[in-house]
């Protein structure tokens, strides 16, 4: 009985070997491929792999000329008895023979003890867990599609058709283009979208599979057959380019039309007209090239005649002294005193016009500011003490010294009204009549002098009432007023003037010099000159 039991598996083995020898198709090309793959990865002999849940294939190579009957392949599950597998062989190139054994009923999750004997010697001994040596077929039905965006490809494939292992797979995707290869591992999913590919290039896509290693493990499968797909070209870019070109062209056109229509306005804004006095000075720039002197010379001295012209047009004005000034002891004015011009003297009924130029020329050259000061003070004092001039005695004797400028000189000069008269048009005539000390604030009233700049009218102090002057034998002396309450600023311009008037300017201070002293503190003086003296000459 024991023999029968022992013989039975041997008989079965014989049958198996015969049958297997008859059917050499057990080792097919697929197995060959996997075996070659495994040769690179696994180095423990015998190399074994499981293709599915129900098989195990082990093989080893020997160069002994193909004698499978020499070998014995035994395997033992945990806590079970050993089994034996029939060894088969496959002739390879050269003298190499590949011996293999395929188990058709397997148990997973339990340790398997494999032994290979050649004759009586143990050739190999290996313990393994079958669930950890999977070598699967490549994924099937790999499809590659374009997503519609440049540089993207969408992949999908089928998982290995193994029950109980659906969620335990991991895949690797490889995309190859000219010169470069990229591989990416995908966990679990059977579809994947490749991004960041170069647009407009051809890619070859391949996928392979392997168990994820937790419950089941194994080796990477073979790659699928490559599928080529060309990514979408950057078609958006040409569109964008053309659009931007068109829009910029339109914008340029618009800006051009706007510019042309508002050209004048824009030019005005950008390069504004700078007003030039050219039209007032005919020929100054065009003929004389800006040389003012020449232009003056050629324009018939019109400029200088102008003030006179102006003055001639303007109405002469009488200036009445309205306010008093404190005086030092008066100085007698001697009639006929020829010390200085501008004294209050009898006038002849001469034409003031004649006097004017004389006076002008006379004074203009010899006017000395310091001298003027002293002289003025002198005059002032003299005037105070002077005897009453004829026909103006009323004025002169008036206690109050007012300075007014009245346009209507027909009025009685002694009225002593302070009239507002425009500065620019009035000469400055001062009529004195003070015999007493006055307050220190004589009002100069309406002195017509402004800042004394190049205003022509400021020179009008010398405006003489010509023919309309009252023919009374009245001489009007210009004398400075001391501090006027007027805040007109008399700068020391008079000295720079052409000398027509002898307005001597000082700072205004509300002080009258008490004595006949050089005026250290600048009291307010204005000299205004009108003198009728034909024979006067400035000192």
């Amino acid at each position: 009985m024991i023999r029968l039991r022992q013989l039975a598996p041997w008989a079965l083995l014989l049958v198996f070997t015969c049958c297997q020898n008859a059917s050499p198709g057990l080792w097919d090309a697929g197995l060959e491929k996997k075996a070659d793959l495994l040769m690179r990865v696994e180095h423990e002999e015998p190399r074994c792999f499981a293709e599915g849940m129900r098989d195990l294939t082990c093989f080893w190579d020997e160069a002994d000329g193909g004698t499978p009957h020499l070998y014995r392949f035994t395997y033992t599950y945990e806590n079970e008895e050993s089994n034996e597998c029939v060894v088969e062989s496959q002739q390879r190139e050269g003298s190499e023979t590949r011996y293999f054994c395929k188990l058709l009923k397997v148990q997973l999750f339990g340790l398997l003890d494999i032994r290979v004997y050649r004759g009586e010697t143990l050739l190999y001994n290996r313990n393994l867990l079958i669930n950890l040596v999977f070598l699967l077929d490549p994924p099937a039905n790999l499809t590659v599609t374009r997503t519609g965006k440049p540089g993207q490809l969408k992949l999908s494939w089928l998982p290995p058709p193994l029950k109980y292992m659906e969620n335990s797979m991991m895949y690797e995707v490889s995309c190859t283009t000219a010169g470069s290869r990229m591989e990416k591992v995908v966990q679990g999913n059977t579809e994947f979208t490749l991004r960041s590919l170069r647009p407009g290039t051809e890619y070859a896509i391949q996928v392979r599979v392997k168990p994820d290693g937790l419950t089941y493990d194994g080796y990477w499968s073979d790659w699928t057959l490559p599928i080529s797909m060309r990514t979408l070209p950057d078609d958006a870019d040409p569109l964008i380019l053309s659009f931007s070109v068109i829009i910029s062209f339109i914008l340029v056109l618009l800006s051009l039309t706007i510019f042309l229509s508002y050209r004048r306005f824009l030019i005005k804004k950008m390069w504004p007209l700078i007003p030039s006095p050219e039209n007032k000075f005919p020929g100054l720039f065009t003929v004389y090239g800006g040389n003012f002197q020449e232009w003056l010379g050629h324009s018939s001295g019109g400029l200088w005649q102008r003030p006179g012209f102006f003055y001639l047009e303007e109405l002469p004005v009488m200036l009445e002294v309205l306010s008093e000034a404190t005086m030092s002891p008066p100085v007698q004015i001697q009639p006929g005193d020829s010390r200085a011009p501008g004294l209050l003297k009898e006038t002849t009924q001469e034409n003031e016009d004649e006097m004017l130029p004389k006076a002008d020329s006379g004074m203009e050259k010899k006017w000395d500011p310091d001298l003027q000061e002293n002289w003025l003070m002198d005059q002032f004092q003299v005037l105070q003490q002077s005897s009453t001039p004829p026909s103006q005695s009323s004025l002169l004797e008036s206690k109050d010294a007012y300075v007014t400028l009245s346009q209507n000189f027909d009025q009685h000069p002694g009225e002593g009204k302070l009239e507002d008269i425009s500065e620019e048009s009035l000469p400055l005539h001062v009529l004195f009549g003070t015999t007493e000390t006055s307050t220190s604030h004589p009002d100069l009233g309406s002195l017509p002098q402004s800042s004394g700049s190049s205003q022509l009218s400021s020179q009008s102090s010398f405006e003489y009432p010509h023919n309309t002057w009252p023919s009374k034998s009245l001489t009007y002396a210009c004398l400075t007023m001391a501090d006027s309450g007027i805040s007109t600023d008399y700068s020391s311009i008079s000295s720079s003037r052409t000398g027509m008037e002898c307005i001597y300017t000082n700072d205004y201070k509300n002080q009258m010099p008490k004595e006949r002293q050089p005026l250290a503190t600048p009291p307010t003086h204005t000299g205004c000159w009108v003198q009728e003296q034909h024979n006067s000459s400035p000192t």
Binding site: M53, R54, Y77, E78, N79, E80, K105, V106, Q107, L108, F109, G110, L111, L129, N131, K163, Y164, N167, L214, T215
Partner: protein, 180 residues
Amino acid sequence: ILKTTYIFILLFIWTRLGLPSPLRPICDPRVLDRFIKEARDTEFAMRSCSEGCSLAEPLSVPLTSVDFAIWEKGDVSEQAQEVQSGLWLLAQAISAVRVSITSTALHSLLDNSHSNIHSIGQVIRSLNFPEYTPPADGTVHEDTWRVSSTLELFRVHTNFLRGKVRLLLSHAPACRRDST
């Protein structure tokens, strides 16, 4: 009054827990995958175990091998019983090993494994399998064998989870009913 209400609430919760109330089925495979991962790590750690890793007394452990052809035809409830008894055996073995091993690092791993086994028991219970009552005498007859080293023990532990437990949980009727 606060105290009484507090006690009442505690009692209420405890009774609710004690009752075999239908737990929500745990069907996520990632739950067991995490246990398998940790079991594998423990098995690797046991390879470097130097002291106290050979057992004085062989321990009973379940069989781990699975023949799919047979398993598919088997009865689910029997399989559940088989799994639960195997888990109980493993828990016993791990407790026995913990006493003899001195390394504290391994202690933490052992405790983790032990708690994992209990968690798997909870998962099985959540799938409405009939509960397993361990035999009073402490011995299990069917499908056991003995190991003599901790390395073997934890290899068994890992593969038991990978195989039978996983198959049971992934094809539990409670989970399949939810999915369909």
